[in-house]
């Protein structure tokens, strides 16, 4: 190949190609599902899967932010869980208290996330250690304050408006999917068009060089972790809206799934490159995969193994591409 052709940037660069792959995988899985169990890919079937995917996708928004700067958020499960419980206990199922309860819950998520960010950026604690410790702290706080979910308010339901937001439809789509679409637009815009988004990518590419160019690296880091906490809490709210009540351990699946969605979507695990749209595709194809496996009547343990294999295979594939590209 001549120098001129190798230097030109193809429209389908590596990142866009990966996003495309992730979406294609989702579509293929839908087709497989339809073949195994007719009705799997009916409009209502697709809608149901997308609703489940939206919970993963919302958590993955936060995870995308922190992975873009080479970090990770392992505190997702109990920040989400704490958010769900805080939502029901502070609202007690009354619509009148929904707004303050929402603000309190989202504020809690953002504050816990900001603490994660401060630990990473200011104290220099590795993200894995900081967020894992925070997960433990949140677990302890949640169990302690709720008396192991025995408190009188713990059994409260989510306010009807919140339940309606998840279950009701608007223009043929469940409102939760409209919320997700709004998040996709806002997050993608933030990353692509704003100074904050640009700083996210520069910090992810080279924090030292960004610092020496006058970028407020620790500030950016703290805000990104705060966003991750915010989205975890938001997912917790959505989930109590979906199920009506909070439960212990409801956040557990979202740690692995959110990271998996980000990786499947082609966000570079060491930071600096990738798009939220990729994570969205990852969340959808992962959720379809789970549903297909369920359609095959695969038991829980089998699904776990398939998950793990898929992630390893993708990382291996993307790693290869790295060397060749």
């Amino acid at each position: 190949m001549s120098a001129a052709t190798t230097r030109k940037q193809p429209f389908l660069n590596r990142e866009r190609r990966r996003i495309l792959y992730a979406f294609l995988a989702g579509i293929i899985l839908f087709i497989i599902g339809e073949l195994v169990r007719p009705g799997f890919a009916s409009p209502s079937g697709i809608r149901a899967i997308l609703v489940v995917a939206s919970f993963v996708g919302i958590v993955a928004a936060g995870q995308t932010f922190v992975i873009l700067i080479g970090g990770i958020d392992l505190s997702v499960p109990w920040v989400l869980n704490a958010g769900a419980i805080l939502m029901v206990t502070s609202s007690l199922g009354h619509d009148a208290r929904a707004i303050p309860a929402l603000a309190l819950t989202l504020g809690m998520g953002a504050a816990v996330g900001a603490l994660n960010g401060a630990g990473v950026a200011l104290l220099g604690i590795p993200a894995v250690v900081m967020t894992l410790a925070m997960n433990g702290i949140m677990q302890g706080l949640t169990l302690g304050l709720s008396g192991g979910m025995t408190c009188t308010s713990c059994g409260a339901y989510a306010p009807p408006v919140v339940q309606a937001a998840v279950h009701h439809s608007f223009l043929g789509l469940p409102i939760v999917l409209w919320i997700w679409i709004a998040i996709i637009i806002v997050v993608s815009f933030l990353l692509a068009m704003t100074r904050f988004g640009r700083m996210t990518y520069t910090v992810g590419n080279n924090a030292r060089a960004s610092h020496l160019a006058g970028i407020h690296v620790s500030g950016v880091t703290i805000v990104l972790y705060a966003l991750s906490g915010f989205f975890s809490a938001l997912a917790g709210i959505m989930l109590v809206g979906f199920g009506g009540q909070a439960a212990l351990g409801m956040g557990d699946p979202y740690l692995f799934q959110s990271i998996a969605a980000v990786v499947i979507g082609g966000v570079y695990i060491l930071g600096g490159r990738g798009h939220y749209l990729g994570s969205v595709a990852g969340a959808i194809s992962l959720t379809v995969l789970v549903s297909v496996l369920l359609a095959f009547n695969m038991p829980d343990y089998g699904r776990s193994i398939v998950y793990g294999v898929v992630i390893l295979a993708l990382l291996l594939l993307y790693g290869r591409e790295e060397e060749n590209g």
């Binding site: 068009m193 704003t194 100074r195 640009r198 590419n205 080279n206 610092h211 160019a213 006058g214 970028i215």
Partner: protein, 499 residues
């Protein structure tokens, strides 16, 4: 005709579109000391890495004892009797000197376990055999000095009785006494019929030890000589005469105001440093590596904190807590290592060029893409950055063009004071020339420039004054006109020689 001990034939190697070597050849006989000479970026280090089996060439052939060989790792080279001392040291820092010396040939006890005692004993004997008595084999490598590490590295290579020995800049971190020791070893190996190939920037050393010299320019050899004088060699290396490389020095205006003043600045590796930098002045900073230059630049830029002393910018005393604060006061830094400290290699030329002016390109938090493109294009046009476009990843550009993008980033800001740290390192000669012209024109237009360089020649030609640092202190201040590279070097090493 005898068969050459080692031959490189038309070796080519490119790193991501940038050619390090195009058609590099040389031939060394048994019992010969052969010097590879060339400018930074001429490809010598790459060639040594290829000969040592650490890097695979894209094209060309390596012949050892007349046989074409394929070296798919340092081990393969070792089997053929070729040992290499690379420029980046390869010792394991958390192991002892003895363990490093006997790596992979550790003496075993009867149970097949490595014997610590025997390792120490053997290492002691080895060091004694090569006359290195001042290094403790029990010391951890990370605790010994750079020169000592280099010595251990050389002893390790020599101890294998190599048939061919490659040395990449072996003397760069050694002082005179150690250089003499090394040359003693080289002469001994030569008598035993070993073929020694080394690179060096120090002409006096090359003259005193090399039998033949091959000169490289731009990734290819331009000739092999047995006798050549320095002027001719420099002409061949650079393709131009020395004087033409540097622009004439414009005297700085007599009454120029002081832009930056340091008084008794102290900190790690920095003791009581004072200087005043005037508008329109290029103030050079020189001396041996590791004597406080880096700390000085970092402290002035707010990246390190002074433990004492004051810093005044345009008459106002400042205490910078971060580079951001320094930038806000009109200071810019082009750092030592453009790849790790300067550029975002995978991001585009545009993203790199606009990094320091993002705030100006933003309204309500949203970037203005058209203005950003315009600013980036301005950097490319005004500094003549050779790139296929502003969307190209900056890592795909040559070193010189990368450096231009980095300089351009700061020229888009309103900065008045430029801290340039070894900006011509690893840059081709043509770009060096452009950078010199740029520095001179920036000074003429009223910028104040603090200019560190590891190249004394460059300081001598480019600066109005040169501060020579030694052990964190300004050891000498030299004034143009009439500064020579020899003045700078001798001021930098004076005490070493006395000791």
């Amino acid at each position: 005709m005898t068969i050459a001990a080692v031959e490189a034939v038309d070796i080519g190697k490119a790193y991501g579109g940038v050619a390090a070597l195009t058609k590099a050849s040389f031939t060394a006989q048994a019992g010969e000391v052969h010097a590879l000479v060339g400018e930074n970026g001429a490809g010598k280090s790459t060639l040594i890495k290829i000969m040592g089996g650490r890097v695979r060439p894209d094209s060309g052939e390596i012949r050892i004892g007349g046989q074409a060989v394929s070296l798919n790792g340092p081990q393969a080279a070792h089997h053929l009797g070729a040992w290499t001392v690379f420029q980046e040291l390869t010792l394991l820092p958390w192991m002892t000197v003895a363990e490093n010396l006997l790596l992979q040939q550790e003496p075993r006890s009867s149970l097949g376990l490595i014997s610590r005692q025997a390792t120490l004993r053997d290492a002691d004997a080895l060091l004694a055999r090569y006359g290195v008595m001042h290094i403790d084999p029990r010391a951890l490598v990370e605790d010994i000095s750079l020169a000592e590490r280099q010595t251990v590295e050389i002893v390790r290579a020599v101890s294998h009785a190599p048939k061919i020995l490659f040395l990449d800049e072996p003397t760069s971190s050694l002082v005179e006494r150690e250089v003499e020791w090394l040359f003693g070893q080289i002469r001994r190996l030569r008598e035993q019929g070993c073929s020694i190939v080394f690179t060096s920037h120090r002409w006096a050393e090359i003259r005193s030890i090399a039998d033949r010299i091959t000169i490289f320019r731009g990734g290819a050899d331009v000739g092999t000589f047995t006798d050549i004088d320095e002027d001719e060699a420099v002409r061949l290396m650079t393709g131009r005469r020395v004087e033409a490389l540097y622009p004439p020095l414009t005297p700085r205006p007599a009454a120029a105001p002081v832009m930056l003043e340091a008084r008794s600045l102290s900190g790690p590796n920095l003791r009581q440093v004072s200087f005043a930098l005037h508008q329109g002045e290029v103030l050079g900073v020189g001396g041996l590596a590791g004597h406080g230059h880096r700390e000085l630049f970092r402290t002035v830029f707010g990246d390190a904190h002074a433990s004492g002393g004051t810093l005044t910018v345009q008459g106002k005393e400042k205490k910078f807590r971060s580079p951001r604060a320094a930038i806000a006061s009109g200071i810019a830094l082009v750092p030592e290592d453009r790849k790790t400290e300067g550029l975002l290699l995978r991001m585009s030329v545009r993203d790199n060029a606009s990094l320091a002016i993002l705030k100006r390109l933003t309204r309500f938090g949203i970037l203005k893409p058209q203005e950003e493109r315009r600013a980036a294009q301005h950097v490319v046009d005004s500094l003549r950055v050779r790139t296929a476009g502003i969307g190209l990843a900056v890592g795909a550009l040559s070193g010189g063009n990368q450096q231009k993008v980095l300089l351009g980033r700061w020229l888009e800001t309103e900065c008045q004071i430029l801290l340039l740290y070894d900006v011509t390192r690893g840059v081709d000669v043509a770009t060096k020339h452009e950078i010199y012209e740029l520095v001179a024109s920036l000074a003429r237009s009223g910028h104040a420039i603090l200019f560190y360089s590891s190249d004394a020649e460059e300081l001598a030609h480019l600066c109005h004054r040169v501060l020579v640092m030694r052990e964190g202190v300004v050891a000498a201040e030299l004034h143009a006109p009439g500064i020579t590279a020899e003045d700078i070097v001798s001021a930098a090493v004076r005490d070493h020689r006395a000791a």
